[in-house]
Amino acid sequence: MFVVAGREPAAVLRVQTNVGTAVNRSARDTLDDAELVRRAQRADGAAFAALVARYQERVFNVCSRMCRHQADALDLAQAAFVRAFEALPRFEARANFFTWLFRIVVNLALSQRRRGAVRREVSLEALDGEADRLRPSPERRWHDPARDVENRELGERLEAALASLDEEFRIAVVLKDIEELDYATIAEILDVPVGTVKSRIHRGRMLLREQLAAEGLLHGLV
C-alpha cells in the first residue's frame, strides 16, 4: 500500500500481540485433538477454533436432536463450546476430548431441559415443516430417488418419534444410532454404567418401534 524507498527508519516500533499462533489452518487440521487441546490450554485461540471446526457438526447434530428447534440447538452448541473453553484448564490430557466435549453437551442439554429453557416438541404435527432445517449431509444422503419422498416422510416420522422419547432414552439412542458411539463411550459421556446404557438404548429403540408400528410405518423404514 505504501513504499518507503531509500529512507532508513529512525526507530522501529514492534507491536507484539500476546501469545497467538504461528501455525496456519492446514497445519492445524493435521494436529490431533491432544495437540490442539494442549495449545488451546495455552490460550491459543486458533487451536480452540480448530477444535470447534472439527466437532461443530457432530455437536450441533446432537444438539438438534435434543432441542428440535434450530435456535435452541444453536444456543446449546454455542454454550457447550464456550463451557468447554472455560473448562479447558481442568481437562486432563489423558482423557478423550471428544468424549469430554459430548459430556458437556449432554449435561448442558439436560440442565437446560430441567430449567425448561428448551422447548420440547412431542407432537408429530408440530414437526411438520421442521424437517427443512435438516439438510442431508453428503455421506448420509438417501440415494434412491424413487424412495426419496417416502423416505423423507418416514424420516420425519422417525424424527418425531425420537423427539417424543424421554431424554435419557433419546440421548442414548442418538449417541448410539446417530453418532455411532460404542457403549463404553456412551457410558463415559452419560456418566452411567455400561449396563444402564444398554438398557436405555434398548428401551429407547423399543419405544420407537412401538410408535412406528402403531402408525404402520415400521416396515417402510427398511
Partner: protein
C-alpha cells in the same frame, strides 16, 4: 427356560444387534433367536429402527455457529474474569505495568475515548462502560512496591487473581517467552529497511485466531492512519514466528520521527480500544505490549526503562520524545471523515491549548455533508442521555449557513476562558459572529459577510438562549464568580479573533483561561478517575510560565498529536464494519494553524468587571 431369563435375553437383543455382548451372552441370545419367532421379529424391528435412525439426515451446523463461539470466547477472553486466559493476561498485566509505554499509550486511548472533559466520543460505544474501581494513591504505591518484589497484583474489583494458580504459572511462562522475544527483537533490528507490500494484515484479519485478527486490525489501523495523516510514513510488517516454541505475532512499524512513533503507539492503543470496546488501561494492556528498537536521538531512552511514577509525565514525554519545535504559523493538516468535522472542531475547542485557526477545505459537493456534520453533531449529542448526563445544553444552528464560494471555511479558536462561563449578555459587541455552534467562523473570501452576520448575531443574542457552547463549559467546569468581566463574555471563547484583538481584558481572559484549563483538567480527572495514568497527567507540573514560546511549541505538539490521534481513530472507525456513525468516509481536509501566543499578562492584574 424361566420367563425372567427369556425377558432378559430379549432385553439384550439391542446389545446383541450392536455387537456389545460377550460371546457367552451372545450365544444365549442366538439360542433364543433360533427357537423364538417373536425374538426374531423383535430383532428385525429393532434393526429396522436402528438403521432408520442411521439414515436420518444430519443437521448441518449453521454457518454462524463457529463465529458465534469465537465471538463469545473472545468476549470472555477480554472481559470475563472466569476466563483462564484473562487470568493469565491480567497476571501478565501486573508484570508489564512497569512499562511506561503501555501506560502512556493507554492514557492517550482513554483520553480520546472519554475526552478530558468527560464527554464521550460518539459512536465508539466506550463512554458507556462503567469506570473501573478507583484506586487510591496508597494502594497504587503498595501495588508498585509489590510488583517490584515480583508479587502478583492482589485482586482489585475482582479483576486480578491473587491466588497462585495455573494462570500464574502460565504468566511465568509468558515471562520466559518475553525474554527471548526481546532478544530476538534486538537481533531483528539489523534489518535496515522493512518494506511493506501489503496484504499481510488482510490475511491476519481473516485468520480464525483472535490474536492474529487483533494484529490484523492493529495493522489496518496503522495503515489507515498512514493514509489519514499525510505527513506520516510508516513501514509495517505483519509476521508470525515462534520463540522458544511459543507462537507470537509481530506487527512492525518503523516511524521516522518521535511523533510517528507515538502516533503508531497510540494507534495501537486506539485499535485495541476499538477492538475491545474498552478504554481502561488494564484492558489495553491485556492484549498487547510494545517495545522499540533503534533510536533517532529522540527515542534514546527505552520505554520500559521509564518506571511508572505518580509524577512521571515528564519522564513519559521524554521517553516518547518531544515533538519537533513548533511555533506560531505552524500547521497540522488532517483529513477526517466528513461526519467527524464537527467533532474535530469540538475537540479543538475543548483541548487546543492555544489560539488556533481551523480551516476546513472540502469539495463543493461535500458542503452539505460538512454542514450536516457541524450542525447535527451538536444537536444530536445534546439529545442523548449521555450528553445530558454530562451537562450538555441544547445547541441550535444560529443562522442559516450559505455555502462558501471556494469551499473553504475558517474557524478561529481561542483557549477556553473562564469568562465564557458567564451567561449570555443582553447585547454582544459588533464584531461577534452569528454562529454559536461554530464560534467565529468566517468566510475567507467574504470579509464583508462578517459584519452582516455580526449584526444578525446581535439581534439573535439579545433574544435567543445563551450561547450553548458556553453553557456546556459552565456546567462541566464551573469557575469562580470573580473571574468574570461581566461584559461581552457570552461567547468570548468563540468570538475571539486574533490574539490581542480584544485588548487587555481579552488577554486577561486568555491568561485566566490557561489557569482554568489546568484546573479543569485536574478537576475532571480527579472527579472521574477513569484511569490511574490519567491522574499522572493531572499531576504534571504546569509548563513554565516564563517560556511562552516553548510552551507554545509543546502545546502545539500536543495539539498536533491529538489531531493525529483523532483522525487515525476516526478513519479506523470509518474503515471498520458496523461503525454506523462513521459510515461516511468522505475525506475532509482540515488545517489547524497555531496563532501567535498572547502577550503575557500579570496574573495579579484584576480582571475587568470583577465585582
Amino acid at each position: 427356560m424361566a420367563w425372567s431369563e427369556r425377558d432378559k435375553l430379549l432385553a439384550d437383543l439391542s446389545a446383541y444387534l450392536d455387537g456389545e455382548l460377550d460371546p457367552r451372552r451372545a450365544g444365549a441370545v442366538e439360542e433364543l433367536l433360533s427357537r423364538s419367532e417373536e425374538a426374531r421379529r423383535t430383532l428385525a424391528e429393532l434393526r429396522t429402527v436402528s438403521e432408520g435412525l442411521r439414515k436420518l439426515p444430519r443437521a448441518a451446523a449453521p454457518a454462524e455457529l463457529a463465529p458465534a463461539v469465537r465471538r463469545e470466547v473472545e468476549r470472555r477472553l477480554l472481559f470475563d474474569d472466569r476466563s483462564p486466559r484473562r487470568r493469565v493476561m491480567l497476571t501478565i498485566v501486573a508484570r508489564i505495568t512497569a512499562s511506561a509505554a503501555v501506560i502512556v499509550a493507554c492514557v492517550a486511548a482513554g483520553w480520546l475515548a472519554i475526552g478530558r472533559t468527560g464527554r464521550p466520543v460518539p459512536s465508539a460505544g466506550i463512554a458507556e462502560r462503567p469506570a473501573p474501581p478507583t484506586v487510591s494513591e496508597a494502594e497504587r504505591a503498595a501495588e508498585r512496591e509489590g510488583l517490584a518484589r515480583g508479587e502478583p497484583l492482589v485482586g482489585r474489583g475482582g479483576i486480578v487473581q491473587a491466588e497462585p494458580s495455573p494462570a500464574e504459572a502460565m504468566a511465568l511462562q509468558a515471562d520466559a517467552i518475553a525474554k527471548p522475544l526481546a532478544a530476538a527483537t534486538e537481533g531483528a533490528g539489523a534489518r535496515p529497511s522493512l518494506g511493506y507490500a501489503g496484504g499481510g494484515e488482510q490475511d491476519a484479519l481473516d485468520h480464525p485466531s483472535a490474536d492474529l485478527r487483533l494484529a490484523g486490525r492493529v495493522a489496518r489501523g496503522l495503515i489507515t492512519s498512514e493514509e489519514g495523516v499525510p505527513s506520516g510514513t510508516t513501514l509495517l510488517d505483519v509476521e508470525s514466528a515462534e520463540v522458544d516454541a511459543a507462537p507470537i505475532v509481530l506487527v512492525t512499524v518503523a516511524p521516522h520521527s518521535a511523533n510517528e512513533y507515538r502516533l503508531a503507539q497510540q494507534t495501537v492503543a486506539l485499535w485495541y480500544e476499538h477492538a475491545s470496546a474498552s478504554w481502561s488501561a488494564d484492558e489495553c494492556a491485556t492484549s498487547w505490549s510494545v517495545s522499540h528498537e533503534g533510536s533517532d536521538g529522540v527515542l534514546a531512552q527505552p520505554l520500559a526503562a521509564t518506571p511508572p511514577s505518580q509524577s512521571s509525565t515528564d519522564a513519559a514525554n521524554a521517553s516518547h520524545g518531544r515533538l519537533p519545535a513548533a511555533g506560531a504559523g505552524e500547521q497540522v493538516e488532517a483529513v477526517v471523515p466528513a461526519p467527524r468535522v464537527g467533532e474535530l472542531l469540538w475537540q479543538l475547542e475543548q483541548h487546543a491549548p492555544q489560539q488556533v485557526r481551523v480551516t476546513v477545505s472540502f469539495q463543493p459537493q461535500d458542503w452539505s455533508r460538512v454542514q450536516q456534520a457541524l450542525g447535527t453533531y451538536f444537536e444530536q449529542s445534546d439529545t442523548t442521555p449521555t450528553a445530558q448526563q454530562h451537562g450538555l445544553a441544547v445547541v441550535q444552528l444560529g443562522q442559516p449557513v450559505a455555502q462558501p464560494a471556494d469551499g473553504k471555511l475558517e474557524h478561529t479558536r481561542q483557549p477556553e476562558s473562564p469568562l465564557s462561563a458567564e451567561p449570555a449578555p443582553s447585547a454582544a459587541p459588533d464584531d461577534q459572529p452569528a454562529l454559536p455552534w461554530l464560534g467565529d467562523a468566517r468566510w475567507a473570501d467574504q470579509p464583508d459577510r462578517d459584519a452582516a452576520e455580526a449584526k444578525q448575531s446581535d439581534t439573535a443574542a439579545a433574544t435567543a438562549q445563551p450561547a450553548p457552547l458556553l453553557q456546556r463549559r459552565a456546567m462541566r467546569a464551573p469557575q469562580p464568580a470573580q473571574r468574570t468581566d461581566g461584559g461581552g463574555g457570552a461567547s468570548g471563547a468563540l468570538r475571539a479573533g486574533e490574539a490581542g484583538s480584544d485588548g487587555a481584558g481579552e488577554a486577561a481572559r486568555r491568561e485566566a483561561g490557561g489557569v482554568a484549563a489546568q484546573d479543569h483538567l485536574r478537576k475532571d480527572v480527579s472527579g472521574k478517575p477513569r484511569m490511574r495514568e490519567e491522574e499522572n497527567i493531572a499531576e504534571a507540573p504546569a509548563l513554565p510560565a516564563d517560556e511562552p514560546a516553548r510552551a507554545a511549541r509543546d502545546a502545539f505538539g500536543e495539539l498536533r498529536a491529538a489531531v493525529e490521534r483523532l483522525t487515525a481513530w476516526w478513519f479506523d472507525l470509518a474503515s471498520s464494519a458496523g461503525a454506523a456513525q462513521a459510515a461516511d468516509p468522505t475525506p475532509i481536509r482540515v488545517q489547524v494553524t497555531l496563532l501567535p501566543p498572547a502577550e503575557p499578562v500579570p496574573t495579579s492584574q484584576p480582571v475587568q468587571g470583577q465585582p
